[in-house]
Symmetry: C2
Subunit: 188 residues, 2 copies
Amino acid sequence: MRKVYLAGPEVFLPNGREIIEAKRALCRAHGLEPASPVDLGGRTFSSKFERGLYVSKANEEIMRGADAVVANLTPFRGISADVGTVYEVGFMCALGRPCFGYSNTTLRYLERVKSGFYCGATTIRADGGHIGSDGHRIEDHDMIDNLMIDGGIVASGGKFFTVDADPGETFADYRAFDACLGALAVMP
Amino acid sequence: MRKVYLAGPEVFLPNGREIIEAKRALCRAHGLEPASPVDLGGRTFSSKFERGLYVSKANEEIMRGADAVVANLTPFRGISADVGTVYEVGFMCALGRPCFGYSNTTLRYLERVKSGFYCGATTIRADGGHIGSDGHRIEDHDMIDNLMIDGGIVASGGKFFTVDADPGETFADYRAFDACLGALAVMP
């Protein structure tokens, strides 16, 4: 049975535990084994920093022991995916494991940057390039997020699914997540 | 001579080419060889998406051929590092290459999220946990960015340097970048 690492920012949500358990159950329904999350087991640490290092190292070990990753790349605290999750996608892609991603918005990166970051204050150069109000170039690869993320997922043999979740359901809509599991489950 | 992959969002800056050349020259001054960036060589593509895939794949190949990464993790388009750069840090950490990071602000993640994302609208729970106005928990690991980034850098044998750049000099201050090069150059 394939073991799948579930990456995403759910741990920061007030109902995160419930969402994570629902996602783990969906894995099993698809014949996939969800990798166990970090277990601190009452361990104490000399500092917040040491605790963070422990969690990071434990997550890396769990990733090395997993066969694939399914990553929640829904924009989090800004216009792009959660950076911790992105780190994990890069990590698993480097290991040659299939990486599946999902986002609960179908807005592409360019649109999110234009509306969500620059609040519409962008211009278009003569060559068609988009420029933010700070003079920075906004890349347009017709992709969901940064090209390293979309490209890494494709190169890994995975796929990036998006749906438009209802307002207020951004983290409670499991359709795109389920599409990842379905695609992973039928991989040869 | 160690070959170093320079990761960062400089390519989006109006003076990006100049900054990249200055950073490549600093590498050489430290006895390090900067890995060559992607060369599109006048290649044409059937779509913007195909072009993006090509760049992603080329960057991954360049990373696999490099001995270390020095990553500009200065917050970009939000409170965290550029997600493309973060993907690359995760990628190189998985390959076991030393990862050095730098940020041109000394504000830690918790402070950036509180002020830059929630505009101060956060509360503190009885157990000391920070909560944003949307109910999301804000992690506090006394780290510069997400724990996977800070932790990955430490585990790789690298180091994360920060300085406070003058306003307007966020991308033109090379002190933290130079500290990374100095530390990498003396690695056994």
